[in-house]
């Protein structure tokens, strides 16, 4: 295996770990504070805490992947490209970074879910992985293109993403007979597979865009 | 940066001339070591290859010789060699200029001779 590839892979792996560490700490901190404000007297607080942590984790970790990936192409990859990395190594490097992040999310979710374990949780782990990958890839691709536009577009895309997610995730709130088929809880696996498809699609687009990428000063 | 190097001639020629000047003035004695091209290039802020070119001219002229692994040294008899060469070129390099300038401003031969005599033959 080429030396340059190894160096690039190691770099992106470390980026993935770093990303997970910072974001997860942030998300958990917010989740804990949020839960603290909601607790009332005599609640089974540890159970509610973990459930809340899981909710936050499941939503925010992929969302953070999306937001930060917007910057990744120009900032991160631009620097690495300017230091002699090959484009194909960068492409794989990003896959490693996203994969590492996604797997760490999965592990994190598992750990948090242990105290409140139910049979159905496994599907969520799959969903977290798939969603992290899809979000990271989408964010990366949009960020790559958005570089040509401006902040406003990025903000709009971010909000649209959030709304879609909330809509799907909390669809049980607006359920009636017609909607139940699309309820999140019943179809976690379907949604996960959908996310994986989006991920794959994005990666194809990224691969093509990345082939002739330039360092921009 | 060329602090005291001018634009008049190529830098490498200026380097070789400066080393020759030092030999003439006795600052660099015979069989003494000459600064390395690296030191010269750093001192005058010039490309080391240029400094080397200047030094190599002197090696070709047999003013300097190389002691392998140590550096460049002044050849015995270099001072005399340089003096001879400069004496031969003195007219072209200096005297012609004085004569031309004197002509330009109307100083005749007699006046010029007086000036030379009057400068207590330093």
């Amino acid at each position: 295996m080429s030396d340059l590839f190894k160096r690039t892979a190691k770099y992106y792996f470390r980026q993935g770990i770093k990303l997970f560490s910072y974001i997860s700490l942030g998300v958990l901190a917010v989740a804990v504070m949020w839960t603290a404000t909601l607790l009332g007297e005599g609640d089974d607080w540890s159970r509610r805490l973990f459930l809340m942590l899981l909710e936050f984790f499941e939503f925010f970790m992929p969302y953070a992947a999306f937001m930060l990936s917007l910057y990744a192409a120009t900032l991160n990859d631009g620097i690495v490209l300017s230091m002699g990395a090959r484009r194909k190594d960068i492409f794989i490097g990003n896959l490693i970074k996203q994969g590492t992040y996604a797997l760490c999310n999965a592990l994190g979710y598992l750990l948090l879910a242990l105290p409140v374990w139910e049979q159905g949780r496994i599907k969520h782990v799959l969903f977290v992985i798939a969603m992290s990958l899809a979000s990271g890839a989408s964010g990366y691709f949009f960020g790559y293109k958005v570089d040509k536009y401006n902040n406003a577009v990025a903000a709009v895309v971010a909000i649209v993403y959030m709304l879609l997610y909330v809509l799907i995730r909390y669809s049980f709130v607006i359920i009636d007979v017609g909607f139940s088929a699309y309820a999140f809880e019943n179809n976690v696996v379907i949604y996960a597979l959908g996310a994986l498809l989006i991920f794959a699609g994005m990666e194809v687009l990224i691969y093509r865009a990345n082939k002739y990428s330039s360092v921009v000063t | 940066m060329l602090d005291n190097l001018g634009e008049e001639k190529s830098i490498y020629l200026q380097i070789s001339e400066m080393v020759e000047d030092e030999i003439l003035r006795g600052i660099l004695g015979e069989e003494e070591q000459v600064p390395s091209t690296t030191e010269l290039s750093k001192f005058y802020k010039i490309n080391p290859a240029t400094a080397a070119k200047g030094i190599n001219i002197l090696v070709d002229k047999k003013v300097l010789y190389k002691k392998r692994g140590i550096g460049m040294f002044v050849q015995t008899g270099a001072k005399d060699m340089i003096m001879e060469e400069r004496r031969n070129n003195f007219y072209e390099t200096f005297v012609k200029k004085i004569i031309n300038e004197a002509k330009l401003i109307g100083i005749d031969k007699e006046e010029l001779k007086k000036m030379i005599d009057g400068s207590n033959g330093t």
Partner: protein, 292 residues
């Protein structure tokens, strides 16, 4: 002895042609100066020669092998370029030490000790964020990356921008030192020409996306002349030569020209002086402005 060669390089951005059919051969083991006006194409050319930007047409090879996506070639090159403090999506929050750590991860021959020495020498605070650096400090960071990379072919794009005279002198000394000790190839583009001119064994002059000259600096300057005297005498003496610029005051005229050979005798009527690289380039620019 190696050669970094660009052949028939064309670069277009949409309808605009930024580089027009460039042929260039850069030999290793030399210090090159790259000079040109803003917008002449210096950065674009350097980006393409280092495969950081794809050419629209043409090839770039190092010792015969294509540089594009080629590990062997890429590992011999370092192109330390201007770091952007802002990108479209926000400011660059990276810290200097993180940037240098990335350099360490990617440059196979990175010399960490040397990098640390340079950080101390230039008195830079490695904990500062890139967005908060002054122009001079940004230049220092690019200099540190370039020098500590210990790359065989090291390219610096306007490395002294924003540096005060002391820092500039330190930089030139470091380059001379490195070159004298290791024989590394340096390609340095700069607007501060005269200070650095004596460092450049060869000079590349680029204008309007074309390479006008790529030549041994002293050879080029040996055939440049500053001819002065009365206007008629000067006009007579310089007829037939490529005159880049003239200036007149009263009846007195000065012409800067480039001939085919050194040591030309223009006659007694005019005064001849040598031309510095900066003045020659300036004259060329004035000439280009007039559309010559």
């Amino acid at each position: 002895m190696g050669v970094l060669a660009g052949k028939n390089i064309v670069k277009k951005y949409g309808k605009e042609t930024v580089l027009k059919n460039i042929d260039i051969n850069l030999e290793t083991g030399k210090i090159y100066g790259l000079i040109g006006r803003n917008g002449a194409g210096k950065t674009t050319l350097l980006s393409i020669l280092t495969a950081q930007n794809p050419a629209t047409e043409g090839t770039v090879t190092l010792d015969g092998e294509a540089v594009w996506e080629n590990e062997k070639a890429l590992s011999r090159i370092c192109y330390s370029r201007e770091i952007s403090q802002v990108t479209m999506l926000g400011t660059n929050n990276l810290k200097v030490k993180e940037y240098l750590a990335t350099a360490k991860a990617f440059y196979a021959n990175w010399d960490e000790e040397y990098a640390k020495e340079l950080i101390k020498l230039f008195k830079i605070d490695a904990g500062k964020r890139i967005r908060g650096l002054s122009k001079g400090m940004l230049s220092v960071v690019t200099i540190i990356v370039a020098l500590a990379s210990k790359a065989e072919i090291t390219i610096l794009d306007e490395p002294v921008a924003g540096l005060d005279i002391v820092a500039r002198e330190q930089f030139y000394n470091l380059v001379i030192d490195e070159y004298a000790n290791t024989g590394r190839t340096f390609i340095i583009s700069t607007h501060i020409i005269e200070e650095a001119a004596s460092l450049f064994e060869r000079v590349i002059i680029i204008d309007g996306g074309e390479i006008k000259f790529e030549e041994n600096t002293e050879d080029l300057l040996a055939r440049a002349y500053r001819v002065s005297g009365s206007a008629e005498a000067v006009d007579k003496a310089v007829s037939g030569y490529k005159v880049y610029n003239t200036e007149t005051i009263g009846g007195f005229k000065v012409a800067i020209l480039l001939a085919e050979e050194p040591g030309i005798d223009f006659g007694e009527e005019v005064h001849i002086e040598p031309v510095s690289l900066q003045n020659l380039f300036y004259a060329m620019c004035k000439s280009a402005e007039k559309g010559a």
